[in-house]
Structure formats: C-alpha cells, structure tokens
C-alpha cells in the first residue's frame, strides 16, 4: 500500500511541476516566471523526498536541503536584481 501511495503522490507532483512549467513558458511578465520557478523548486523538494522513500534510503535529505537553500538564495538574488538593478549594492 505504501508503494502505491508513493507512486500516486509522485504522479501528482509530476502533474504539479508540469503545470508550473506551463506558467513558466506562457508567463506574461518576468515576476510571473520567477514565481513559477520558485514553485517548481519547492515541488522538486517533494519529488526528491518521494524518490528517497521509493528507494528506501535517507541519502536524499541532503539533496533536498541543498535544493531548498540554493533555490531560496537564487530567488532572492533575482528579486533584488529586478528591484534595484544590482544584487550587492
């Protein structure tokens, strides 16, 4: 039952990532695309955690933590660039 639940949840996360990718392509402005990319990395954390559960290993926590930190840092950097025209003033 746990295997089936992991498969269903992974399918739902794939659908979510595909919908976010659609918004990333058609987004009419740059902040729209940036919000779509932000949501995509948050969904990728969930997908990687599900993959670690599927393989029955705890090795993927570090990968999820790295994606969380680097995704936040890159979102903040691009937002600062859009707001001020410069990242570090």
């Amino acid at each position: 039952m746990l295997t089936n639940a992991i498969a269903i949840s992974a399918l739902l996360f794939m659908l979510a990532i595909a919908l976010n990718f659609y918004r990333l392509i058609i987004g009419p402005s740059i902040p729209d695309r940036l919000a779509a990319l932000d949501t995509m990395y948050v969904n990728a954390i969930g997908a990687i955690i599900l993959f670690g559960m599927w393989l029955n290993t705890t090795l993927y926590f570090e990968a999820a933590l790295l994606i969380a930190m680097l995704g936040f840092i890159s979102t903040v950097a691009v937002c600062k660039y859009l707001l001020r025209g410069d990242i570090i003033e």
Binding site: S9, L12, L19, S29, A35, G46, I49, L50, T58, F72
Partner: protein, 121 residues
C-alpha cells in the same frame, strides 16, 4: 501488527494529501488571472503540500528504522521560514514593475515613487 497497519494508512494519507495540495497550488498558478492572485498558490498550498510530504517521510523512516530522523523537520522549518520572505520579495518586484491587476482584485498597489511628491511639498 494492527497498529503498524494504521500507521501505514496514516503515512499514505499524508503523502496523497501532499500531492493533492501541490496540484491545487499549481492549478492556482495556471488559472488565476493576475500576478497578485497567482502568488496565493505557491505561498500557501504548495508549502502545505511539501510540508505534508516531509511529515510523511519522517513517519515513514520512523516506521522502517525504529528511530525518528529530525533532518526532515529541518527542511520543513527552513521552507516555512523562507517561503514568506521570497513571496514578499516577489510582490515587491511585481509592484516595482507596475504589473496590471484584474478588476476583481481589491485594493490599489501602494505607490512606491511618492518620495518626489513629498520632497516637492
């Protein structure tokens, strides 16, 4: 044995709820008409979905290995702290670019370039 089956049901329900919340957030991302409406999806629903999956993962490895791992809670805590910050910065950049809002969106964006008027008066 029966308790183990109940725990498996709880972990499966948490995982599927997390997937459904993620899909609801992505549908809001696609279907809302406005950038300011569109920010509701990632900030609330997607964070809740990933939080559900991380809670399910912690319970899963507790069930398998016999001892809980607190690294999952670390990721959840980090995500719950950083998502409002990035959403605030996204809203600031959207206001800075003067993105158009749908007529159903209530409230007007705060004018960021009022300093000239204040300096003139």
């Amino acid at each position: 044995m029966d308790l183990r089956f109940a725990l498996e049901v709880a972990v499966s329900a948490l995982m599927i709820a997390g997937g459904i919340f993620a899909v609801i957030g992505a549908m809001g991302m696609v279907r809302f008409r406005d950038f300011y409406m569109r920010l509701h999806g990632p900030t609330k629903s997607t964070t809740l979905g990933v939080g559900c999956v991380l809670l399910a993962s912690m319970s899963f490895f507790w069930l398998k290995n016999g001892h809980p791992s607190l690294q999952d809670m670390l990721i959840t805590l980090f995500l719950f702290i950083t998502t409002p910050v990035s959403a605030h910065l996204l809203t600031m950049s959207g206001l800075h670019h003067k993105l158009p809002s749908a007529p159903e969106t209530k409230g007007q964006p705060y004018e960021l370039d009022d300093e000239d008027d204040i300096a003139r008066n």
